[in-house]
Symmetry: C2
Subunit: 279 residues, 2 copies
């Protein structure tokens, strides 16, 4: 997915939220926005919006010295999700179709996000049960029958616990790929381990330092799985933005959080999506 002009206001909004989270004072905040504004004419609109996270977070890092602005929020999300784990497990087991419920919960878990600059209410979202206008469940079940191994590309902290519930339900060999370094509230190896993913999957770094999975920035290890795996699960907007045109079959599980992504998916903001992308 390419970057749209409509993404520009959002870059500034995200930068401001993250700068404040990093503890930047008013002068530093202004400096960060000023520096980002100088990058606007240089943006390559053929690249996905996720690339801009590198510039935004690089600028925040340079000016504040903070490499992980959402560290506290990330830890909080991981702990909250782990606390919810037993009741979510029960919820899955109490339904007629546990797999379906586990998929839905994995998508609902994508509600946890500090990247869009919008507030979220995870518990409210879990109670609402969500709206799933695109739900390629049959294709997912078929892929599950046919394949023994899954490449699962993670998104956010806390959401990892929801991924764990789905992985436990799927009961297959899973490669769980996370970011190579802190960016927004995306999960790293440390977060995946904290949430117990290493007990049920092989946790690897995708090599991506941005809030998505751009092939050209990924590690050889990740690419060896990505280029061969016939069953890939991709969580969240950043991964969708960078993989929506991938030459691989991918199941996208995400909540559409902005107008541009919603337009790409032909859905509304807030919709929950399970979309099968054929290569």
């Amino acid at each position: 997915m390419k970057t749209y002009l409509d993404c520009i206001p959002c870059f500034f909004k995200q930068a401001l939220v993250a700068a404040r989270e990093a503890g930047a004072d008013e002068v530093q905040q202004k400096k960060i926005l000023d520096e980002i504004s100088q990058e606007i004419p240089k943006i390559s609109f053929s690249l996905s919006p996720a690339y801009m996270s590198r510039i935004v977070y690089g600028t925040i890092r340079k000016i504040t010295g903070v490499t992980d602005p959402f560290k506290k929020e990330k830890i909080k999300s991981n702990k909250l999700a782990l606390k919810l784990y037993p009741q979510l497990k029960k919820r899955i087991k109490s339904t007629k179709e546990p797999l379906k419920e586990a998929i839905k919960l994995a998508i609902l878990g994508n509600t946890i996000d500090f990247g869009t600059g919008l507030a979220f209410d995870l518990e409210k979202e879990l109670n609402s049960k969500g709206h799933f206008p695109v739900f390629d469940y049959e294709e997912f079940k078929n892929a599950l029958k046919e394949n023994a191994e899954i490449l699962y590309i993670a998104d956010n902290c806390g959401e990892t616990v929801f991924d764990r519930l789905l992985i436990e339900e799927i009961s297959k060999e899973v490669i769980y790929a996370v970011r190579s370094a802190p960016i927004i509230n995306d999960a790293t190896i440390e977060d995946a381990k904290f949430c117990g993913l290493n007990k049920i999957a092989r946790v690897i770094s995708s090599g991506s330092p941005i809030s998505g999975t751009p092939i050209e920035l990924c590690s050889q290890e990740f690419l060896s799985f990505f280029n061969q795996s016939p069953f890939i699960i991709s969580k969240g907007q950043g991964n969708f933005e960078t993989l929506s045109e991938a030459n691989r079959p991918v199941f996208f599980l995400l909540k559409a959080k902005c107008a541009i992504v919603a337009k790409e998916l032909n859905c509304k903001i807030g919709d929950m999506i399970l979309k099968y992308h054929q290569k």
Copy 2:
């Protein structure tokens, strides 16, 4: 009211909406945003956000040659409001307190706005009757008793018809001040006349070419009224932004349309306000 860092994303959003309205193609839209991004480091944050409208619309004018991007929408708003006039007049007359209803309608009329980049639904808003958490009605009635002349500073096209209804209800001598040139969907002398304001008030230009009333850009004619009038009515956000610290007593009638203005007014986005500002 000063400009906040949070206004920056909004400037880009507004610029994009207006550029598209001006018929700018993708290349022109990008050029407009690129040029505006170069202005960001130069913003004087002690000035009100309304000043930025000059840069945004100046850039659009330079690149597209269009001086009045919302011309069609302005004509449409004027016509729609004139069509609603008879039923609104009836609505005012059918209430126990026609003045109160006319004030409320004048505020509800501020819903018509193309500046914030948000969609609006005037008829829905009129039916909802609005939420008025700040409503300095007693002060307004007292000012009305004590003064024979009113300076009424207009805001948007179409909204002018709602102003007309209030002015008719007030039945005093009114100086009705509008912008000196087209900016966003703000009313000019032409619009005021089209909506019949010249029949019930003396219509003048404030001299302001921006979406607000910055004293230092106003005409001597306007200032002679502004500096003497003990009863000033100011409509909308742009006028509030530029006059919130004025050394004159002002009744602000507006709908709070953004988080920053809502914070200044200690209310929520969407709230309808009648606020008495003492000098």
